[in-house]
Every structure is written in structure tokens, then in C-alpha cells.
């Protein structure tokens, strides 16, 4: 983009970003957001420049006259956000002269935190890459067997391993490694069939792999000891693709509209993964080429973009992915810096939008081994739901939208420092108590807090079951601003952003839509399976803190179950990636399960509209579907937390 024009000698204008003072020079007509990305200033841009989120507000300190005029759409968003004078939206504002821009705190991207542990599961360890130590006989004139054949002979004699081939690049370095190590080497074999590394000396106890969960918002890598399955180091980062749009669909659109779009998106994530690899290896005190295996999970969009497969066709009905099965690809072909001959194992895809991340959730929660009927819900922009047991499994994908991840919510934000992650409201005084990430002064609300807020507002009667605010309450926290009711969670002086943090009527409506889609998905799967109720509900998804079980039940985000039959497991997709790294059996199981799950296409299901309508109520329009509801409401009343 901007930097590519450097050498053409055209006119350039300086932009300075405050308060960091970062600066750069760009050709006329560059947008402020593009310039910010280029110089490394992190500005929130949830909608990817489509003028729907209005989160990328910046204040123009100097050079107002050098900007593109305000369009009607921009003005509408600025008005809606009550932006002050000299505010502009960075994504659409171009500069044609020198400018100084101030990035207010609420527009800045925050440091991301993420759950580092999910469920622990007992898995028998059988990684794809195994290491074998060999002491080879030195060749001489009467024993002039080739180097590779010498290794193969020893593998057969010492370990009974046959039918092994070798990676071409490893072959090239092999003769020197053998001679420089006095013929004592450690050989890494991938899936019993290919030598992917030959290292000098005894390295059997140094066997590492990296499991990666590529989330739309967050990427997490787990450096794992392949012999024990233990995590040695964890690193996470915001998905670097967010600069091209915060949801999958805007990124796919970006790839469709720009000739080098896919290339850009793909190299962003590869660079990001190399950083995670480097960081975890640094923490563990090893080199990146000592990592010999890698597993990847992610939704279908992330999966395709990672592999640099055109994602266009999964964004259009009939939403067909390029492949369902798992795929093994040389890490070097993707530009990943693990050992040169190493492979990356990408987990399988169930159906269109039920991707490798959901398969990972399944192998880490194992509903397919149960007698009982389990419902596994992975909450995200695309909520994936699986219902079933050992005999039958069904899945669907519910377009919940990004509300539960903080987008489209007035003070919604990602799980970063200062995000409100827990909220309780006193039934008598209607005063809230909240907890923020890092115990910092609040600057927004993240997913777990948003679900809590909806549940508490409903439980205390501030919001009725149809989502409408009750304005006849004796508290200054419930008020009407420009005809829109809202509840004040934090007063301006408590926050770091200098104005009240509220939940508005519109926020509740967004939550109703998201919750309605997820809940309708569950109800339709239950109907298809012929069930009135399920035996257990497992809620996966990481939005800062674990999603509160009571809150999820209170608003009917999940179907009715007794409280001891619901479990919140955090980032189950990441756990699945780790399991696949250390167990070949689980890799096979993943492929088998992915093909066995029957996929229900929600949007074209004849009952969807009806179920969606009913499911938008708290907890549901048909109260008989929530027999435990009163009980759940009373729990909070008494201050019981589990």
C-alpha cells in the first residue's frame, strides 16, 4: 500500500500519531487508518472500513483543512457516537497535506490476554514425529554402503522400522551431519514413513511441537513436549489480519476485492505464527528449528487463508470448502520456520462453516464417546453447535454475529486490559459490581461481561423478557438518552475513557439477535434429534473469562439443564490442537468424526424463522422449555455462585 510508492518520487505528506509520536510520510489520498497500520499504530477497526462500527475515531490536532470531506455515512456514525469537534473516522478519512492525529484511548487496540489452559484430558501419547538415536558404523572400503542406506539399515536393525523415505532438503545436509557428528545421530521420522531431520548426537529427549489455534480475533500457540504432552510455553497475539477487518467475512471480501488480498492476509498470519514460534522457543530456551511438528485449527475461513486457498467459495452458498479431510503440508512451503523437513497438520473441516476449530472442540470434549446426549456449543461470531452421543452426531453453525465478542456493542471491546469481564447487579439497590481484566479502570466490556450484563439486567427486572428497558425504576443508573434507554455500569470518573460506560437498548437488541440465533440452533438440533432435553451442555469459547454458566442459562443462551449439568470449558479448540499434536489416534478420530457429523443448514431450515423468533426472548418465549429457570434466577438472588 502506502509504502510501496516510496521510490516513485511523488509528493508525500507527513502524518504524526499522538500520543505515541509515531510518524510517516505518505502519498496524497492515503487514509489515516492505512497510514497508522503502516507505521505500527494500533487503531481499532472492527468493520474493516465498511462504515458500520465507528470505532476508529481519531481527533485531528492539526491539518483539518488537508482532509477529505466528511461523507454522509461518516457524519451519521460520528453523530451516533457523539463524537466531538475535530473527530474523524480513520478508515475513510484521507489526507492531502500534513496532519497531526491524536488516537483517543477508546480507539486504541489493547494488549490481548487469553486463557492459557482449558480442560485437561487423558490422551495416550503417540505423536506423529518420533526421534531415534543411531550409532552408525563408519564406512570404509569394504563397507561402502550409501549414507541413507546406512541409516535405513540401522533403523531396521535397531528399531525394526522399514519403508522409510527421506525429505529432499534433509538428504542434502545428511552426509555432512553424519561426518561431523562421528556417525552418532538422531533421526526424526514423521508418521513412520519419512525422515524429516537428521541431527548430530543424542537429541531424543528434545522433541518439540507447536499447537496453534488461529481464531478470527486471537491466535494462540502452545509449545509442547512431544514425549510428555506437557506445555512448555504459551504465546498469544491478536490475529494480525484484524487490520483488514475484524470478522471473517470482511477479510474474505478483502481477499476477493484486492488482487493481492489473499497474499497479504496469508502472509500476515504466517508472520504472526513465526513470531509465536520465536517467542515460545525463546521462553523455552530452544531454537525454532528444534520444533519438528505443528498442528493448526481454525474456522473454515482462517483455515483457507492460512493455506492460501481462495476463500471466496466458502463465503457464497452452497458454502463448499476446498477440502474436508485433514491436510499435511511442509512447513517450509508455507514459510514457517520450524525444522526444514517438518510438516504442518491442518485439522479437518466438518462442513462449510463448521471448521477445524469445531473438530478440535469435539476431540477435546468427546461427545461422540458418550451414552448421554451432549450439546457442545462453541460461542463465537459463528457459533458452532454439536449435539449427539456415540450413536449419532449433528452440527449446525449459527450466524450469531460479533455482538458476544464485543463488536456492535456501544462499549464492547476485546478481552484486553480494562475490559469489564464480570458484572453483578444488586436486586434491591440496582447498583452494579464489576471486575475488569488486570483490575484496571474500565474502558469497555468484553464478551463474558456482555453476557453477564444481559443476564443481570434481565434478572433484576431492569430489562423485561422481551428485551425492553423498564424506565419506571428508582435509580439514576437507568436513564433515557435521546430517546434510547440505557443502564450505567460505570460512571465516567471510574473509567479510563472519561465517559460513562453503559449498556443501551440497542446493545440488548444485538445480544437478543446473537442469543436468538445460537439458541434456535440448539433447539433445532434437539428437534432433529427428537429430544426434549439434553443430558449435558458444554460451553466453549474464550472471551476473557470463562462464560458464566448461570448467566448463560439465565438468558437462555443454552438449552435448559440443571446447573450441575453445564460446564464452561474455555478455549476447547486450542486444547484440541494440542491433543492432535501428541496423538495420531486423535488425528484419525478427528477425520472420522468430521465425516460422521450430520450438518444441518440452519438458514434454510423450515423451522428456523419460528425458532429464532421465540429464542430472542429471555430465556425463551416458551417458558416450558426452561423448567429450571426460576431456580436459576434464585441462585443469584441468594448470591450463590456455582
Amino acid at each position: 500500500m502506502a509504502s510501496s510508492a516510496t521510490d516513485r518520487g511523488e509528493k508525500r505528506h507527513r502524518i504524526i500519531f499522538q500520543p505515541e509520536g509515531k510518524r510517516g510520510e505518505f502519498p496524497p489520498g492515503t487514509t489515516i487508518l492505512d497510514a497508522a497500520r503502516d507505521v505500527g499504530v494500533d487503531i481499532e477497526s472492527i468493520c474493516g472500513g465498511k462504515l458500520t462500527c465507528g470505532k476508529c475515531q481519531v481527533i485531528i490536532e492539526q491539518g483539518m483543512e488537508n482532509l477529505s470531506p466528511v461523507t454522509e455515512d461518516e457524519q451519521r456514525l460520528l453523530d451516533k457516537k457523539k463524537a466531538g469537534k475535530n473527530y474523524r473516522l480513520a478508515c475513510v478519512t484521507q489526507f492531502f497535506g500534513d496532519v497531526v492525529v491524536y488516537v483517543p484511548e477508546e480507539s486504541r487496540g489493547g494488549e490481548q490476554i487469553i486463557l492459557k489452559e482449558g480442560v485437561e484430558l487423558s490422551v495416550s501419547i503417540d505423536p506423529a514425529v518420533k526421534k531415534y538415536y543411531l550409532e552408525l558404523s563408519r564406512p570404509h572400503l569394504k563397507d561402502d554402503l550409501g549414507d541413507l542406506e546406512r541409516i535405513l539399515k540401522a533403523l531396521k536393525e535397531d528399531y525394526g522400522i522399514e519403508g522409510v523415505d527421506i525429505d529432499f532438503e534433509v538428504l542434502r545436509k545428511m552426509p555432512d551431519v553424519l561426518r561431523n557428528s562421528d556417525w552418532k545421530v538422531t533421526v526424526s521420522i514423521w508418521n513412520d514413513r519419512e525422515i524429516i531431520d537428521v541431527e548430530p548426537g543424542y537429541k531424543v529427549e528434545e522433541s518439540y511441537g507447536l499447537a496453534v489455534d488461529i481464531g478470527t480475533t486471537t491466535v494462540v500457540g502452545y509449545l509442547t513436549d512431544l514425549r510428555t504432552g506437557e506445555i512448555i510455553a504459551v504465546d498469544s497475539m491478536m490475529n494480525p489480519q484484524v487490520t483488514y477487518g475484524e470478522d471473517v467475512m470482511s477479510r474474505i471480501t478483502f481477499a476477493m476485492q484486492n488482487p493481492d488480498g489473499l497474499e497479504k492476509l496469508s502472509s500476515k498470519i504466517i508472520d504472526g505464527l513465526n513470531k509465536i514460534l520465536q517467542n515460545t522457543c525463546d521462553q523455552a530456551g530452544i531454537k525454532t528449528d528444534q520444533v519438528s511438528d505443528m498442528t493448526i485449527v481454525g474456522n473454515t475461513g482462517m483455515h483457507h487463508i492460512f493455506l492460501k486457498i481462495n476463500p471466496e467459495h466458502i463465503a457464497m452458498a452452497p458454502y463448499v470448502p476446498a477440502l474436508h479431510r485433514s491436510h499435511d503440508v511442509k512447513a517450509r512451503d508455507l514459510g514457517l520456520n520450524i525444522t526444514e523437513g517438518g510438516y504442518v497438520h491442518v485439522l479437518p473441516i466438518e462442513a462449510g462453516w463448521v471448521g477445524a476449530d469445531n473438530v478440535a472442540v469435539l476431540i477435546s470434549t468427546e461427545p461422540y464417546l458418550q451414552e448421554e446426549m451432549w450439546l457442545v456449543i462453541d460461542i463465537g461470531t459463528n457459533g458452532e453447535i454439536v449435539l449427539g452421543n456415540k450413536d449419532r452426531l449433528m452440527s449446525c453453525s449459527a450466524a450469531a454475529g460479533p455482538a458476544l465478542e464485543g463488536a456492535h456493542i456501544k462499549y464492547g471491546m476485546r478481552a484486553a486490559t480494562g475490559a469489564i469481564e464480570r458484572i453483578r447487579i444488586d436486586s434491591e439497590t440496582l447498583e452494579p459490581e464489576y471486575k475488569t481484566i488486570g483490575d484496571a479502570p474500565p474502558r469497555g466490556i468484553c464478551g463474558s461481561g456482555i453476557i453477564d450484563a444481559a443476564a443481570e439486567l434481565y434478572r433484576t427486572g431492569i430489562v423485561s423478557k422481551n428485551g425492553r428497558f423498564n424506565l419506571d425504576l428508582d435509580t439514576p443508573r437507568v436513564r433515557e438518552v435521546d430517546g434510547t434507554p440505557e443502564y450505567v455500569i460505570a460512571w465516567a470518573d471510574e473509567t479510563s475513557i472519561g465517559h460513562d460506560i453503559v449498556m443501551t437498548q440497542k446493545d440488548i437488541r444485538e445480544i437478543q439477535l446473537a442469543k436468538g440465533a445460537m439458541s434456535a440452533g440448539s433447539q433445532i438440533l434437539m428437534k432433529e434429534m427428537g429430544l426434549e432435553k439434553v443430558d449435558r451442555v458444554i460451553v466453549a469459547g474464550a472471551f476473557g473469562n470463562y462464560i458464566d454458566k448461570v448467566s448463560a442459562l439465565t438468558i437462555g443462551l443454552v438449552p435448559d439443564v440443571p446447573l450441575n449439568r453445564i460446564e464452561s470449558v474455555g478455549n476447547a479448540a486450542g486444547v484440541g490442537a494440542r491433543i492432535a499434536l501428541i496423538s495420531r489416534e486423535k488425528r484419525n478420530e478427528a477425520n472420522e468424526i468430521a465425516r460422521r457429523v450430520e450438518h444441518i443448514k440452519l438458514a434454510v431450515h423450515p423451522d428456523f424463522e419460528k425458532e429464532f423468533t421465540k429464542a430472542m426472548f429471555f430465556p425463551h418465549m416458551e417458558r416450558k422449555r426452561y423448567p429450571h429457570h426460576e431456580e436459576i434466577l434464585k441462585l443469584r438472588e441468594k448470591g450463590v455462585e456455582e
Partner: protein, 227 residues
């Protein structure tokens, strides 16, 4: 001839049934309207549609949300099914023809269905092409039906990109048709850039637009009687 008192009472029940999304109440009142010999068009316009207008007001005020709209629509259709076959042909003044559908690649049609209903109660003849509609089909149907309005819906950013193609094709072959576009990812700038005649940023705003349309058209059809 039914007494004015009885007429008012039945209209009130039709209206209330729609507002309170009570399908049974609507069906009962609609059947009774026919039994007592009420004019079917009167029952539709001053009962059902009048109720839907009130639903629109409640929606605008924020009292009602999408689920209430959908349920009211169901109640309205329950009444229409009973009353429509009895409307005298000469009373039907078609306000215009609309061809509408969700563009290729997209199967999300709740918003489109709401808009469709509003057009129908406004007296439009609606040709619903459904969802995942091939782009050429919009053009073909707009020519076949001599549609006054072509309405395109998309819920996904990726599928929205089909809209400018349809607009271009229609402009070329059927320059008189008005084109309305709507759906979550559509912006006013996009609508202008692509040369659409009207837009709505999301399904709910499209409904609002349609509701206004209903009001305007109803006045046209019924004259002062409905006011």
C-alpha cells in the same frame, strides 16, 4: 349490511390480534367478518393493515423488536389467507409490481420476508424470487413482469458484491425500474456508488421504509376513509 357498530368491533379485533400477535383472535375475527358480510378489503385495510401500522409505530418507539414483528406478520398472514380470496377483483388496485430476492450466494432471508410482507399489505404485487437467486434472474424477472421496483437483499459482505452487477444489468435492459437495496452490510455510500434508487442499512430500517410506504399507499387506495 353489517351495522357500523359490529364493523368497528370486528375491525378492532383484527387490529388487536395483529398487534398482540394472536393468530387465533385474527382468524376468528376474519371468519366472522365474512359471515356477517363485511367487505373483505375493508377488513384487510382497516383491520389487519391498521394493526400492522401500529406494530410499526411500536417498533419505531423501540417497544417492539424483530420477534414481535415476525409474530405480528404471522398473525396478519393468518387473516389475509382468509380474507384475500373474498376481495372483489374490481377493488384491487395494484399499486405496482415488485420483484425481490436475496442475491446469489446468500440464504439469509428473514429481512427479505419482512419487507415482502410490507409490500404485500401495501397492495403491491410481489414476485418473490426467494434466496440464493442467480444475478441474471433478477434481470429476467424484472423484464418478464415489467416490475416497477426491483429489491435486492444481502446479509453477507461477500454476497453484497453481486448487487452492483445486478444494478448494472437492470439499468442496461430495463432502465425504468427502480432499484432498492438492503441488508446488514449495505451502506448509503455503496448504494449511491452503485446507482441504486433507495437503500436501507439493515433489515429493520427496510421495514421502517416499507411501513412508511404502506401508510402512503393506503391513503391512496382508501382515500380519506382510512384516516
Amino acid at each position: 349490511m353489517v351495522s357500523e357498530e359490529k364493523r368497528k368491533e370486528i375491525l378492532e379485533r383484527l387490529k388487536k390480534g395483529v398487534i398482540e400477535f394472536d393468530e387465533d383472535m385474527v382468524k376468528e375475527a376474519a371468519n366472522e367478518a365474512l359471515e356477517v358480510g363485511m367487505d373483505a378489503l375493508d377488513a384487510i385495510m382497516n383491520g389487519l393493515v391498521s394493526g400492522m401500522e401500529e406494530v410499526g409505530n411500536l417498533y419505531e418507539k423501540g417497544e417492539y423488536f424483530v420477534p414481535e414483528l415476525l409474530m405480528s406478520a404471522d398473525a396478519l398472514y393468518a387473516g389475509l389467507d382468509i380474507l384475500k380470496p373474498h376481495v372483489k377483483a374490481e377493488d384491487i388496485k395494484v399499486s405496482g409490481q415488485v420483484v425481490l430476492g436475496v442475491v446469489e450466494g446468500d440464504v439469509h432471508d428473514i429481512g427479505k420476508n419482512l419487507v415482502k410482507m410490507m409490500f404485500e399489505v401495501a397492495g403491491f404485487e410481489v414476485v418473490d424470487l426467494g434466496k440464493d437467486v442467480p444475478l441474471e434472474k433478477f434481470v429476467e424477472e424484472s423484464l418478464n413482469t415489467k416490475a416497477d421496483i426491483v429489491a435486492l437483499s444481502a446479509m453477507m459482505t461477500s454476497t453484497m458484491l453481486g448487487m452492483p452487477k445486478v444494478i448494472e444489468m437492470i439499468r442496461e435492459k430495463n432502465p425504468n425500474a427502480k432499484i432498492l437495496i438492503g441488508g446488514a452490510p449495505v451502506s448509503k455510500d455503496a448504494a449511491e456508488k452503485w446507482g441504486a434508487d433507495g437503500w436501507a442499512p439493515d433489515a429493520t430500517n427496510a421495514v421502517r421504509e416499507a411501513i412508511n410506504l404502506v401508510k402512503g399507499l393506503k391513503r391512496e387506495i382508501m382515500g380519506d376513509k382510512s384516516e
